[in-house]
Amino acid sequence: MNQQRRILLAKTGLDGHWRGPSVVAKALRDGGFEVIMIGMTTVDEIVQAALDEDVDLVGLSIGGHIEVAERAVLALREAGIDRPVFAGGVVPPWARKRLEAQGVEVYPPGSQLPDIVAAARRLTGLSVAQ
């Protein structure tokens, strides 16, 4: 189980704010993960990329509304992808609860990078302590 873990990072919305995903991507790469960033993509493209890249974890950068993210999670499951999903971005508490009910871990603004990297380790079956 020492193979490098692969994480897909995608943006669900048509809004290219990149500051959040870019710091997360760097922290994950520094933490030993391979990160595949696909930017602004539709649900179908996210599913396709998760299949093509055979990733261990899917990260969604969500700007505001969460319905598209909810659809992305459902579509991943329908495509037989059972990999965990985590999400970050401007997600109000009521929306966070809805995503968590779908099994998505949510990292809102203010989340610290070491916590996100630790979550990625845990979610991909690595021991949390590096």
């Binding site: 704010h17 505001g64 508490p93 603004p109």
Partner: protein, 547 residues
């Protein structure tokens, strides 16, 4: 969980947020001689270090100017009226970013794939009819308006739409005051957008807007360089200064090359800019003072302009959205107040205070009202409006201002060496600079070097005060789909075809695109159709980063 720690406090490295080292106190020896010369002029006189106007806020308090919009045009109209009723003194229209930033109609596959997001960040306005609904009952002849069009390629449509509504109301465009933004920092740096015109095509569109306003709307601020979006992406205070002025010279050099507009008029057209104020109060106030002096110097030295009437930089400030915390959100009321104070101490002409629920959602009605109230409290209860440039002469602030000016010019020169502002957007060099700072900021938070209350320290598992944030937009997408169909059904198809041909020809040729754009809006041409022309003629920008 971190709490106050005396040892950590004593080890603290005292420096500004731009990492300018701080001493425990400052004296007269800290003010460089060349800076003393700047300090010698009173407010309202070049180099305007001490303020744009002699009487400062006594003659005119800063404009209370909040971004607003979501949902259907009716929803945005209602929110604008709400804010004006509570004392906002100008209004800013937000257009739905899914459609506006990309020049897509709602039936574009990229928008349909995310239909739930439509209307979240601004009202959907696909034609002049929608803009008219958004402006219904708002006296734009007497209220300073921001027409939207923050994004370069969207500005021609948004401005032409607003002006067409004004013309239909019988208003004289020559007397209409307002602004758009039409700026690079948002979609070429802050939230990188794939489907938009290349930077050089954007320059052409913006200088066309400047020329058009010069001829027909002399009271309109045609473009407003928005350092805010660079700063909130990660550029520090002096990088914001350097990049803003590097952007300005792209416009002024292009005007000079074309020779189609008086340089003094061009200087005035570019001289309304937008900066960010974040939590480092003295650095941010110093930055605004520095900006005025730098603008004056640039116009004089690079363009030989000496007419002081066009050399006083007017500044709009938006308080840093990224400084607003998700955790314990009511703390953000204090943050908004302090960042707003920095803007006022720096002598801003207008101000938007980000909502206390900024990190959760677009502003709820209550958060929006609070942003107005914060500004009214500053204006009316604190006496900060009584004296111009109250920090002027402080050894610390003058030293810091002088530092920011020299570091700002260094950054400006670095951009010039790398081919200029547009080249630094195309190459991703500015993105890399912002990214360095983003990472340094996160590292400083994680290591304990930087404290953010309620976020890195003084954390509570159960927030003592929760807020809901904005709850959603309802039927914006469905209504926009219906209206698009209705538009297509009820407009004069032949006139639309003619108007689009004219826009196409103008884009391909060298003539100013704005007259054709005005005719297109008048003929009910839709947003997406303008986008189709731009995509066909100009192509898409080759983004330097994945976004």
């Amino acid at each position: 969980m971190r709490q106050f720690d005396q040892q950590r406090w004593l080890r603290k490295k005292w420096e500004t947020l731009s990492e300018i080292p701080l001493r425990a106190h400052y004296g007269p020896e800290d003010i460089p001689a060349e800076h003393l010369a700047r300090l010698g002029s009173p407010p309202g006189q070049g180099p305007f270090l001490r303020g744009a106007y002699p009487q400062g806020f006594r003659s005119k308090p800063w404009r209370i100017f909040q971004l607003s919009g979501f949902g259907k045009p009716e929803d945005e109209n209602e929110r604008i009226k709400f804010l004006l009723a509570h004392g906002e003194t100008g209004f800013l229209m937000e257009h739905d970013r899914n459609t506006a930033d990309h020049l897509f109609n709602v039936d574009h596959p990229e928008v349909q794939a995310r239909s739930e997001d439509v209307g979240l960040t601004g009202a959907v306005m696909q034609s002049v009819r929608d803009i008219a609904i958004c402006l219904d009952g708002i006296p734009i002849e007497s209220t300073y308006g921001h027409a939207g069009g923050a994004v370069v390629q969207h500005a021609p449509f948004a401005l032409a739409g607003y002006w067409t509504v004004a013309k239909r109301r019988g208003l004289d465009l020559a007397r209409l005051a307002g602004t758009g933004q039409s700026d690079y920092f948002l979609t070429y740096l802050g939230c990188v957008t794939k489907q938009q015109v290349p930077t050089r095509a954007g320059l052409r569109l913006n200088v066309d807007i400047m020329e058009f306003c010069n001829r027909h709307l002399p009271r309109w601020v045609p473009i407003s360089i928005a350092g805010y979006n660079g700063a909130d992406t990660g550029l520090n205070a002096y990088q914001e200064l350097g990049s803003v002025f590097a952007n300005a010279v792209e416009y002024l050099d292009e005007v000079k090359r074309r020779g189609s507009m008086d340089m003094e008029a061009a200087a005035k057209a570019v001289g309304g800019m937008n900066f960010r104020c974040c939590m480092d109060i003295f650095e941010e106030a110093s930055k605004l003072r520095a900006a005025r002096a730098m603008w004056h110097q640039l116009l004089e030295e690079r363009y030989g302009i000496h007419n002081e009437k066009v050399m006083n930089l007017r500044i709009h400030v938006v308080t840093a959205g990224s400084s607003m915390a998700y955790q314990q959100p009511l703390n953000n009321i204090a943050r908004g107040t302090l960042m707003g104070l920095a803007a006022v101490l720096g002598g801003a002409q207008s101000l938007g205070v980000s909502g206390y629920d900024e990190a959760l959602s677009v502003p709820s009605e209550h958060a929006h009202q609070m942003s107005v109230r914060i500004q009214q409290i500053l204006q009316n209860e604190t006496n900060v409006c009584g004296v111009v440039d109250p920090l002027g002469g402080s050894y610390y602030v003058e030293s810091l201002t002088a530092d920011l000016i020299s570091k700002g010019w260094e950054f400006f020169e670095e951009i010039q060496k790398r081919g200029g502002f547009l080249e630094c957007l195309d190459s991703g060099w500015l993105h890399a600079k912002a990214h360095e700072n983003q990472n340094a900021d996160m590292d400083a938070q994680a290591s304990g070097e930087r404290t953010i209350v309620g976020v890195t320290d003084f954390v509570e598992d159960h927030a003592p005060f929760e807020v809901d944030g904005f709850m959603g937009v309802g039927d914006a997408y469905e209504v926009a789909c219906d209206r698009l169909q209705e538009l297509r059904r009820t407009r004069d198809g032949k006139a639309v075809g003619v108007a689009l041909k004219q826009v196409n020809a103008a884009c391909r040729g060298e003539e100013n695109v704005m007259p054709a754009m005005m005719a297109a809006l008048e003929a009910d041409v839709s947003l997406g159709e303008i986008g189709d022309v731009f995509r066909e003629v100009f192509g898409d920008w080759d983004t330097p980063i994945t976004a």
